[in-house]
Amino acid sequence: TISMAVIDKMGHIAAGTSTNGATFKVPGRVGDGPIAGSSAYADDEVGACGATGDGDIMMRFLPCYQVVESMRRGMEPKQAAADAVSRIARKYPDFVGAVFAINTKGEHAGACHNWTFQYSVRNANMDDVEVFTVEP
């Protein structure tokens, strides 16, 4: 899965996801990819979020909606990402997943559970894409 968020020069924010889902899924199964608030979410007033992992579990918690709403209520991206993941881990200790969060100031962070997560960032201060690694 790729989940992506972009802030453009006007300050407008968008998020999106594209995936071919889980391998050997039961035919007809749909994961969190096309669910707003689960795989991705964006709000110009707050920021955006992207997610990846076990979509069958993650879509039950809408982690990206949680991330954005937590940032709206004052959390920093790092805190919001960690909080969203921990809410899932509390019920599903062995779930595998991760999220990234970005606010309107361009501050970003990631959080993950049961795997090492990487996310990519490009902004005007970088010469090229930089990859950030997040340990569980």
């Binding site: 989940s3 802030i7 924010i13 594209s18 899924k25 779930f95």
Partner: protein, 219 residues
């Protein structure tokens, strides 16, 4: 002489704060792209669109995700990966505009390789949010995307064949007869259902798919 109207004190106190907030946001004035995983080419594609090309945030997300679909990032994006039990690849995609809160999405889309572009067509040309399955494919094709096309690849077919030779293990079935084989699957007796739950202290802990999900098999 009528007294002059004065702005409320609270308003005077809050005004500098609100101006500060606007200043901070507007001062950014710079584009940012973030994506899951080390999908550098996809991130670069989005960056080129939003920075050099001056595209909108929505169009940049489409450019970035489209690049990943073409590159088949990790085999988890686009056609040619993640076969289902029948060996078929289907696509899920979502686009969300954080300005208007509009969303377009497709799920379980067959025969069309452009997932994120199909999602944007749903957002731009319908009042709906999510189209699924073959009807999503028909919509996407009717709106100009190429198809129908076979989304399988030699790699996905080989992976599927190996899985079948391994008695269709691992799989996502539970509480079924023949779960350790390729089926046919039937429900076990209702009272023997294992919901995978463990009760410890006050927390209900439920098993997930951690034995199946990994770096190259995930949403």
């Amino acid at each position: 002489m009528a007294p002059k109207k004065r702005p409320p004190l609270l308003l005077l106190l809050l005004l500098p704060l609100s101006l500060l907030s606007i200043t901070v946001d507007a001062a950014l004035g710079q584009a940012v792209v973030v994506s899951t995983w080390a999908f550098r080419e996809a991130t670069r594609a989005a960056w080129r669109a939003v920075d050099g090309g001056g595209s909108s945030a929505v169009d940049a997300v489409v450019a970035g995700c489209s690049a990943c679909e073409e590159l088949r990032c990790d085999g988890t994006v686009g056609p040619g990966g993640s076969p289902d039990e029948n060996g078929e690849t289907t696509l899920d995609a979502l686009i969300m505009d954080g300005t208007t809160m509009e969303v377009g999405a497709v799920a379980g889309m067959r025969y069309v390789k452009d997932g994120i572009k199909a999602a944007k067509l749903v957002m731009d040309y319908t009042k709906h949010t999510l189209l699924v399955g073959e009807k999503a494919s028909l919509f996407a094709i009717s709106m100009g995307l190429p198809g129908p096309t076979n989304l399988s690849s030699p790699e996905s077919i080989e992976k599927w064949n190996n899985w079948k030779e391994n008695n269709c293990q691992p799989n996502f079935r539970k509480n079924v007869i023949n779960g350790n084989s390729c089926g046919p699957y039937h429900p076990e007796f209702e009272n023997s259902c294992d919901h995978g739950e463990e009760r410890g202290s006050n927390i209900l802990r439920v098993k997930s798919n951690s034995d199946v999900i990994g770096r190259h098999n995930h949403d």
